[in-house]
Amino acid sequence: MTRALDGVSFAVETGEFLCVVGPSGCGKTTLLKCLSGLMSPTSGEALLEGTRISEPPEAMALVFQEYTRSLLPWLTVRGNLKLVLRRRGLGRDEIDRLIDNALASVGLGDFAKHHPWQLSGGMQQRVAIARALVYQPRVLLMDEPFASVDAQTRSDLEDLLLRVHAEYGVTVVFVTHDIDEAVYLGDRVIVLSHRPTHVDEVVPVDLPRPRDQVRTKEMSEFTHLRAHVLRHIRNDSSTPMEVQ
Amino acid sequence: MTRALDGVSFAVETGEFLCVVGPSGCGKTTLLKCLSGLMSPTSGEALLEGTRISEPPEAMALVFQEYTRSLLPWLTVRGNLKLVLRRRGLGRDEIDRLIDNALASVGLGDFAKHHPWQLSGGMQQRVAIARALVYQPRVLLMDEPFASVDAQTRSDLEDLLLRVHAEYGVTVVFVTHDIDEAVYLGDRVIVLSHRPTHVDEVVPVDLPRPRDQVRTKEMSEFTHLRAHVLRHIRNDSSTPMEVQ
């Protein structure tokens, strides 16, 4: 086994919104897998609110990077959402209400009866997000959840996520390639280096909340933060094109 | 047949770098297919330097959105590039030199003998770009060519593209979801509307060339342009989540 993660060490506080950026193949997905208990770290350990994670814990949801694959094509959108609620012992009506709400919040209220493959890539990604939301987790791990979504939907979803985060106090770990997005969403941005992976820098983001797509991004503070992260990433790489 | 494009009309000047943004499903890919002669428009016509396009013209290269599927898995990376040079009647050495250059310029010099499926998604996308470059087209059509590439590689490739554009005077039509990218690269940005699709606005980008990832993006002109486009897209949509 290759060591995908080495010397990566950081704490996520309850209710925090943490963004992770870093070059392709540096181990961001691997990191989320350790945090979710899908993978046991070869050395070191992942702690969730003080307890060690060896199995996926009850209160955690994960939005996979490969959203097309993580949706079950033989179930409808509703079926996909229902599946994760099965163990809750809820009534039919309650389940339907929860699902309808979650779908409406990602703008897919009319698509409950469609199969995932009848939707465009961006819509599928939103189904995966709705599935995580309906699960009502305390901790939400998201792996490049907005990669295939067009600019406008993306900013809508970013704002939806900020709202959920604010309302329910969900802890979010959010992996992205988009530095603007990381700065816009996060309380802190963790910048991972090329392999051997280590935490290159932790950038605190002190932009005021609630944030706004246009106003926040026009603030000079925002522009400087993103330039800072960007410059950091560019300087870090000694061999510019050797990515994987 | 659905009308994918309606009332879309614009001219691309020789040597221009034109970026196209617009919501998912609005017809950007369809537009490129018409421009490349792969599809004939039901009404209206596509003109390349004055002549009507009905068959793919000689001097045009297209980078497909579904890059994984446009690379032929039974050929190596080198084979994929060689295939498009077949009709040129070049010598072996000349062909090898061209291919090596193109691969080196996208940072894949060491992967000529690999098959496409042995590479990561981002690397495959770069192979597709290299294939277009080696073809030495006068017109280059690109459909979300950097979607699966990490931030740093992406900015490198953006700069490579700007260099090719400047050196050889290639005309580029570039589809993207990323408004920063569109503003950073283009001479003009065309914003398409929701369906029924029409040209919503044409934004001239008067940023000085050569452009620089950090400096250009820190310019207040840049910030304002992107905010302008973004605001435009947001206001355009009366129903915020209805995307397709």
Binding site: - | L62, F64, S70, L72, L75, L83, R86, R87, R131
Partner: protein
């Protein structure tokens, strides 16, 4: 990385496989020895092996096997020559595809052995067996060839067009390679069916070959030999399938289905 990794698991898998096979055979042997399986009608594994060893030293066994293989290969060859071009032609024209669909769907499921009584009246010997095999092999090959051509990825096809490959190169570099995995699958299915039909024909018609040898052993009430021959038929089937898979591996090294191979 992958190359280094596959060697060891492969050996481990082979060892487990061998061990598992031995355990199964031992259980069968035990069942025979204790009389749970009646001895007079079923040969125990050791008896089967002994009979197989006897057979291997006999020239007639090898000539029987050779005759079966000959009919199989001839039939498969004829079927391939007829079915693959036909499939490509039908598959590349929507009109041809639609016109032949009902006909193919009607003829294909007729089990070839049902035509054996007819074929007996028309042919004899090797030709009879080979034609039966050819007919049985024809359908899976035809179907797979048709679907192979129809399933060429439109994006790959558009790539060829956009880069102006020309018609011939498009077929050579894009259509045929895309359809090959389908044809290979068809060949494997056809191989299995063709062998079954050759053996069946030998049994019913009595042309020399493994099928007839089995019936002869049955008629002569030589139970061990019969089981030895059945085992030999199984080994032959394995060998012929391995042959086809080997060819497939070679030709289709680039195809996704070949990549998980070792695991």
């Amino acid at each position: 990385m992958r190359k280094l990794g596959t060697r060891k698991p492969q050996i481990a898998a082979a060892v487990t496989g061998a061990a598992g096979t031995l355990v199964i055979l031992a259980i069968l042997q035990l069942l025979c020895a204790t009389g749970v399986i009646p001895q007079d009608q079923v040969a125990s594994p050791t008896d089967t092996f002994r009979a197989l060893a006897d057979l291997v030293s006999q020239g007639s066994f090898w000539s029987d096997t050779w005759k079966t293989v000959q009919a199989w290969a001839l039939g498969l060859g004829i079927a391939a020559l007829a079915a693959i071009p036909a499939g490509f032609l039908i598959g590349s024209s929507e009109r041809a595809f639609r016109s032949t669909r009902v006909l193919v769907d009607f003829l294909r499921p007729i089990p070839t052995v049902a035509l054996l009584p007819l074929f007996i009246l028309l042919f004899s010997g090797l030709r009879l067996n080979a034609y039966m095999a050819a007919l049985a092999a024809f359908w899976p090959l035809l179907i797979q060839a048709i679907y192979g051509v129809r399933d060429v990825d439109p994006v790959a096809r558009d790539t060829g067009r956009a880069y102006r490959l020309g018609r011939l190169k498009l077929i050579m570099f894009i259509v045929v390679p895309s359809a090959l995995p389908y044809v290979a699958t068809g060949l494997r299915i056809a191989g299995t069916v063709a062998l079954a039909v050759v053996v069946a024909a030998e049994m019913v018609v009595g042309t020399p070959g493994l099928g007839k040898a089995i019936v002869d052993a049955q008629q002569g009430i030589r139970v061990d030999e019969m089981y030895g021959l059945i085992a030999a038929a199984g080994l032959l089937g394995l060998g012929l399938t391995a042959l086809l898979v080997g060819v497939e591996r070679r030709v289709l090294a680039w195809h996704p289905s070949q990549r998980e191979g070792g695991s």
